[in-house]
């Protein structure tokens, strides 16, 4: 993902360009350094509410969106989020009015801007997913799940066994009849500070993780062309991560998931609004992509257990990821 200066001469603007997919989003009202600071760099905080004078921001997928394919007429819906009011038109551009009283110097990409990006990407059949992705000898894995379900632990385990990591938290995914590809959205890895990640990262001092200033997390900026952190991967399996119902179990639990259970998780950990009848064009594109993606992948429910950290050689998940030779 790259951020370039925009082409609009009358107002500040920038372009968010995918390195992997044919998708460029133009944001009018936001400069390239401002978006880079939120998406890639961290540490160079600036107050979100300073954009109030440039509101509404306009977010638009460039190129031919071919909305006539699904025959839907444009429908506008509005959503009030903590950091902005969003107006989405199915198959069209989106508008964002920044909230004057919202100051979030510590946050990453504001939720309102993220929703606008996700809607525009959806028009190109791209799904923005809350998930980690890495590559092992068994192929590429996409692990989706909410907060506290084990994405950081799984990412750290992947790093500790030498698996290239695409992302720990957010990816853009697209399925074609031939493959499911994911691209990282952020150029940093930010792991939850837990006993598991601390223990594993202590064995990897050369990676260069530093403590986050404001959050209970550790942070690693990823350099371009670092083979340990590829910007994309082909995915052959999807894990849906869950917390254990009671106390954490000793062994990681794995069970096959049906297509509709996996689809429900993909909707839950993307932007559910884009799968509603109010957004017919985005929904049609996303359903097409998800259907292809479910055909091609192995699907498992994963409840991480203590053995993932304590006894990796015996852990069923690691044996699945790195089959013994």
């Amino acid at each position: 993902m790259r951020v370039l200066d925009g082409t609009c001469s009358s107002q500040p603007s920038c372009l968010l360009v995918s390195d992997v997919f044919d998708a460029t989003i133009q944001i009018t009202g936001l400069t390239a350094p401002e978006l880079r600071a939120r998406l890639f760099e961290r540490g160079q905080a600036w107050p979100w509410h300073r954009l109030i004078e440039r509101s509404p921001l306009k977010i638009e997928l460039l190129g031919d969106r071919r909305s006539d394919l699904v025959g839907g007429r444009s429908v506008a819906i509005e959503r009030d989020l903590a950091d902005g009011q969003v107006r989405l038109v199915s198959g069209g551009s989106s508008e964002l009015r920044v909230r004057p009283n919202h100051d979030d110097r510590a946050s990453l990409l504001p939720a309102s801007l993220y929703l606008c990006f996700a809607q525009q990407w959806a028009q190109a059949g791209l799904i923005a997913l809350h998930g980690a992705a890495f590559v092992s000898s068994a192929g590429g894995t996409l692990a989706i799940g909410g907060k506290g379900t084990g994405k950081s632990t799984l990412t750290t385990v992947a790093l500790s066994v030498g698996c290239p990591v695409v992302s720990d938290d957010w990816v853009l995914a697209k399925a074609t009849p031939d493959s499911l590809i994911v691209e990282r959205l952020r150029r940093f890895i930010m792991l939850r500070r837990s006993w598991a990640s601390q223990r594993l990262l202590a064995e990897l001092p050369n990676l260069g993780f530093v403590q986050h200033q404001d959050r209970p997390k550790v942070l690693l900026r990823v350099r371009q062309n670092d083979h340990r952190f590829p910007k994309q991967a082909e995915i052959s399996r999807i894990f849906v991560l869950s917390r254990p119902r009671g106390a954490r179990t000793e062994n990681t639990q794995l069970r096959p998931l049906s297509s509709n259970e996996t689809m429900a998780a993909m909707i839950q950990f993307s932007m559910p609004l884009l799968f509603s009848a109010a957004m017919p064009i985005e929904r049609a594109r996303l359903l097409q992509s998800i259907t292809l993606c479910l055909r091609r992948t192995q699907k498992l429910r994963v409840v991480p257990g203590a053995s993932l950290i304590g006894d990796p050689a015996q852990d069923p998940l690691l044996r699945e990821l790195i089959p013994p030779e």
């Binding site: 509709n260 689809m263 559910p272």
Partner: protein
């Protein structure tokens, strides 16, 4: 029971519920207002699709079910009752 079917039909008409089908016949129904996702097997998807298409009584929906699946009338009635009870209960 018919009032519960009407409740589901209205939620579909008002776009509170959206049917998201998969090519294996199963699917997921999104409840935007309730912020819920209801996973459905092929029978559930057939029933909710029948309601969206205008079948608003247990008998009418059960006839759609028996036309798609090899089940007898009593089993189809039972499936429709259980489905309507479950989904309408989640809309409250």
């Amino acid at each position: 029971m018919d009032r519960r079917i009407d409740l589901i039909a209205k939620a579909l008409a008002k776009k509170r519920l959206t049917i998201n089908p998969l090519d294996d016949g199963s699917g997921v129904v999104l409840d935007v207002e309730g912020e819920k996702l209801l996973t459905m097997n092929a029978t559930g998807m057939t029933i909710i699709q029948a309601i969206e298409d205008g079948a608003h009584s247990v008998g009418a929906i059960a006839r759609v079910v028996t036309s798609v699946f090899e089940v007898d009338d009593a089993a189809a009635d039972q499936d429709v009752h259980a489905f309507v009870e479950n989904v309408s209960g989640q809309l409250k």
